[in-house]
């Protein structure tokens, strides 16, 4: 233990508390759809935002979540206008000594 263990930040409780469990499987189908969407979209969750919204909506309607405004949950109408610039989730592999080559590549 030559270096001190890094201090964990303050452990905070979730803002809106805990989700009650969906024992009656009312919203499980939407959850499955969301998972499928994530797999198709290569885990970029922004592209599956509508399904996430649908899931939370289902929870609210079934009484499994407190009714909240969409703005308060971070779903804004202008989200659809957000141009999230494309990125390749895979990324470039990192090799030792390849830094110079990266710098020569044009930045887009």
């Amino acid at each position: 233990m030559s270096t001190p263990a890094p201090r964990q930040g303050p452990v905070r409780p979730p803002e809106k508390g805990a989700f009650p469990l969906d024992h009656l499987k009312e919203c499980t189908d939407i959850a499955v759809e969301y998972q499928k969407c994530l797999r198709e979209q290569k885990s970029v969750s922004f592209r599956c935002r509508e399904l996430a919204r649908k899931y939370l909506d289902c929870r609210m309607k079934s009484g499994l979540m407190a009714e909240t405004e969409w703005d308060e949950l971070g779903f804004r109408d202008k989200d659809s206008d957000v141009k999230v610039k494309e990125f390749s989730p895979g990324g470039k592999a990192m090799y030792a000594g390849m830094k110079l080559q990266h710098e020569r590549e044009p930045k887009d």
């Binding site: 890094p6 201090r7 964990q8 930040g9 303050p10 452990v11 905070r12 409780p13 979730p14 803002e15 809106k16 508390g17 805990a18 989700f19 469990l21 969906d22 024992h23 499980t28 959850a31 969301y34 998972q35 994530l38 797999r39 290569k42 885990s43 970029v44 969750s45 922004f46 996430a52 899931y55 939370l56 979540m65 703005d71 308060e72 949950l73 971070g74 779903f75 804004r76 989200d79 957000v82 141009k83 999230v84 610039k85 990125f87 989730p89």
Partner: protein
Amino acid sequence: MLSRLRCLRNIYQANVSRGLTGSGVFLRSTPAAFNQRWLQSQATRKSSIEETRNQKNKNALMWTLATIVTFVGLSYASVPLYKMFCQVTGIGGSVQGTAKFSTATAETEILEDADPISVSFNSDVSSSLNWRFRPLQTRVYIRPGETTLAFYEAENRTDQRITGVATYNVQPPRAGIYFNKIQCFCFEEQQLRPNEKIEMPVFFFIDPEFADDPYMKNIKEIVLSYTFFRTEDVDIDVAQQNRLLAEQRAS
């Protein structure tokens, strides 16, 4: 010139009348008197030297005592002073009241130009808890400020109702303060029915201030890790069933 001569003559006459002869004739006074006066002056000089030395010593002592008292007082006073300082500036992670998100959920905005962050999910189960607990997605790629939904799945593999409680951990630790959970399943007891499989959502976002922190510049991956533990509570249904069985056997 003349007055000096007159002066010398007076001294000569006075000494002669006293009976001094020789070279002592021009002395203003007798050697004994002269010696005495000299000794006296020396004594006063010495005592004044001593006095000033005493005074200096006293001064030095006063200063030293005052310094000691000041510093001892400062070290006692530093405890409340430091507390006040920390509360005002918030340096070193001290919090005022309850820890709040830097950016409230209602105000978070998706940062379009920020670098994407990969949030990976990890799960652990305590050995005394016979559940299968796993994340349903390996990772999600998100931007700071984007509210994201993720799922974990827990399956109770026994024939009894079991209650568990989860805690979480964020790696790297410094990124933990930017990990804002809106709603999740942690810190509260969750009971699963026998052989029940259930999905558990986590709704979170990375604080937009993550993009402004220079320490977070090279952090491209955050790992969220949940661990489920068993809560030691007596299952009411099981106790009731056992009682009923015992009664049946008795009858």
